[in-house]
Amino acid sequence: MPSVSMTVNGKQVSGTVEPRTLLVQFIRENLHLTGTHVGCDTSQCGACVVHVDGASVKSCAMLAVEADGSTVTTIEGLAGNADVLHPMQEAFRDNHGLQCGFCTPGMVMSAIDLVNNNPTPTDHEIRDWLEGNICRCTGYHNIVKSIAAGAAAMKGQKAAAE
């Protein structure tokens, strides 16, 4: 079996996997990082979105072997420490951007990729970007509100750091 090694949430990890092992299986079953969800397993819902080398991807539609040598960030890797959430996570909490929470990890990872590419997205751009993320609870309205607030907070944080 091939061996893979990658940096996940800042830590170097490695393991042996079957070639057909999906990245999401490696994350959940080998690394026990179960914040990344599998909703559909058919590339539709976006519950499995993680960042690979800085870009959001559906981890159910990528082989673990294809992530060999990459840098992966999952929802668990966003908050610097257990007490302080990432501004986008905080924004989802503040704006009631979730109900059951199943879609939320994917929503947050997708949203951060949007803001990294477009620091001040309009509501229309947010809705357009969420094409690949399905939520069956919220009706999206508060998710869009959360992402707008999260984008503003990320901008503030970046300005404070500079």
Binding site: P19, R20, S43, A55, S56, V57, M62, V65, E131, G132
Partner: protein, 262 residues
Amino acid sequence: MYEFSYHKPSSVADAAQAIGAADDPKILAGGQTLLPTMKQRLASPSDVISLRGCRDLVGISSDGSTVTIGAMTTHAAVASSADVQKAIPALAALAGNIGDAQVRNRGTIGGSLANNDPAADYPAATLALGATIVTTKRELSADAFFTGMFETALEEDEIITAIRFPVPHAAAYAKFDNPASRYALVGVFYAKTSDGPRIAITGAGQGGVFRSTEIEDQIAAGKTPDSSSINESDLNADIHASAAYRKHLIGVMAKRAVAAAG
């Protein structure tokens, strides 16, 4: 997904060799079509040959008259390329509207063309712009490349390496999205080229992407394009749209594309 052996050659020559040595090989590009197909067990290759190690297949160059895009270039990279936005803005816009952001971050132009999904977007741009498909064996004109629904002129062991797009005088793509899948229910790509207008239609034809010389002639004669010459029995009919509705949409999308190109 059935078991397979995985290969990640670091050059196109090694990839071609790995394909030749395998029983029932499949090339893996972005995997956005191939992996779902394998999960459904509609494909069960013995060997998967990933092109991810072939760095020379990634990249975009432009010399003013031609834009060349490497086969492994993602939709997101084409959409955000300053070169493509400047030379063929309609192509950048098309790439930026494929599927969703995550599909665009993985899916590649080579994979899209090799797959030739009858509702895919890139085949329309490639055919209307009269692009050249460069492979490990030869160079194919777009007119010769697309041979039917999910079918191309590619041989078993032939790899697309790049696509060369001649820069048109003007171009635009009008797509009527299927609201669920975001694939084209009907998409019309119009290019004003030095050889006259070219129109390619995706999403509608039973044989996949096709040109309409009748609509091209209408545009050349300065008339408003309409789809009366399209034969309804050549069009797809499914739960999303009847053949008659698709025929109607071809006329509407052609008008919009011509108007948008200016």
